[in-house]
């Protein structure tokens, strides 16, 4: 779900006190966001925080509602030859890590749309 400013139409992923574009203090309208979007840019990270397996792909995905999502791209080889600006991607979920009690933490990811 996204938050759309009723004043100017700017869309945010998370709630805000006031719109950072037009400063209107709401109301914000909750709108559903598409599962599919297009890859704006990416990078392939080979060196990360301790304990994070590398390499992995990070990216910014533009959704049709006019909001961008920062995410990891999975189910694709970490190779610039396999990634393309504007390529269609879709949201999926996967276990990203375990919390302190050993429970699985499920996070969202994006993956290439199968042709």
């Amino acid at each position: 779900m996204g938050q759309r400013c009723k004043g100017c139409g700017a869309v945010y992923l998370s709630s805000r006190r006031a719109c950072s574009r037009c400063f209107a203090q709401g109301p914000f309208e909750e709108i559903p966001l598409s599962r599919r979007g297009a890859l704006w840019v990416y990078s392939i990270v080979h060196q990360s925080s301790p304990g994070v397996p590398v390499p992995y792909v990070v990216g910014v995905v533009d959704l049709p509602e006019g909001v961008a999502v920062r995410c990891n791209i999975i189910d694709v080889a970490p190779d610039p030859a396999r990634l393309r600006f504007g390529m269609p991607v879709e949201m999926t979920t996967a276990v990203s890590q375990q919390d302190r009690e050993g429970n699985d933490v499920v996070a969202f990811y994006f993956r290439p749309v199968e042709r």
Partner: protein, 377 residues
Amino acid sequence: MREVFVAGVGMIRFGRYPDRDVPDLGAEAALLALADAGLTMRDVELLAAGCLFQANAMVGQRVLQEIGQTGIPVVNVANACATGSTAFREAWMAVASGEYDVALAVGVEQMGKMGLLTGGGGGSGIRTEGVIGSGLMPAVFGQAGMEHMRKYGTTQEQYAKIAVKNHRHSTKNPLSQYQVEVSLGDVLKARMVAYPNTLYMCCPTGDGSAAVVVVSPEKARQLGAKVKVLASVLTSDPWTERDLTLPDVSTLTRNAAKQAYAKAGVGPEDVDLVELHDCFATAELLHYENLGLCGEGEAGRLIDEDETAHGGRIPVNVSGGLLSKGHPLGATGVANIFEVTQHLRGRAGDRQVEGAKVGLAHVIGLGSACTINVLGT
């Protein structure tokens, strides 16, 4: 606001000082700057201290315990990578406002080998987004470079040439953390950090300090100080299309550049040297356009034609830049002022940009804060 002059600068070689502490490092640079100005602690009326990792530990006061406690006001500043340049700006404002005649800015940092991945991740609790390490600095600046590739067809090789240039520049700077030339092949073959940036295209972590004394016009006349602060600008992120999803280092730099050129009464064509925030090779290329050194989409050509190399049309980062000189966060912005001042005074040694009259220092702190200081004689 009245005019402000740089009366003295000091800097220690950036590197690793595991046997020393932050106040000691800061104190050394402060004493160098005071000696350079021909002043002592007795003359200083305000201290602005920049240190990011010890932002809650009263670094400025602890520096004064090393060099002289006169009871003056001390401001401790934290503003990400723009910490040092923001401290400089605090000192500038103190004098520009007319309240003080002599102010000291000290930037210092001790990062050891731990500072690379300060952007988040690593054991700091569970996030709601599916982001693993996508906010880390290398990932952010990798993606920023990819955006320019997407828009203009910029190549990884063009980014790599920036690393070659800055490492070559640093061989003439005895205060640089690294002073080793690397070839284009070395850069491209080096270990990948975050595509398209390889190891040599990422700044190192390290320790260091720098200090600057700024004074009123009357004091400057007494001391014979000729370098004037033509503009000192600080900006934050305005709302942009992908509203900070991809941290945006460009828009606030463009805003700062516009303000700085207007306040200084100069244009990019009048600038003789630029020290800009090349935390990653990709960043330097973006800032060529952000600072108006070339037109939109022309930054790749600028590096291809050596225009930003020493001896070129507009030399950029003749100090070696963050890529080779080093990037001890709090010290970086003050060290830029040191570098530009030395050139304007004709004291930059082997790396002197001959006849330099106007210099620009730019810093970005992600989050974001951008400072641009324009100095001139």
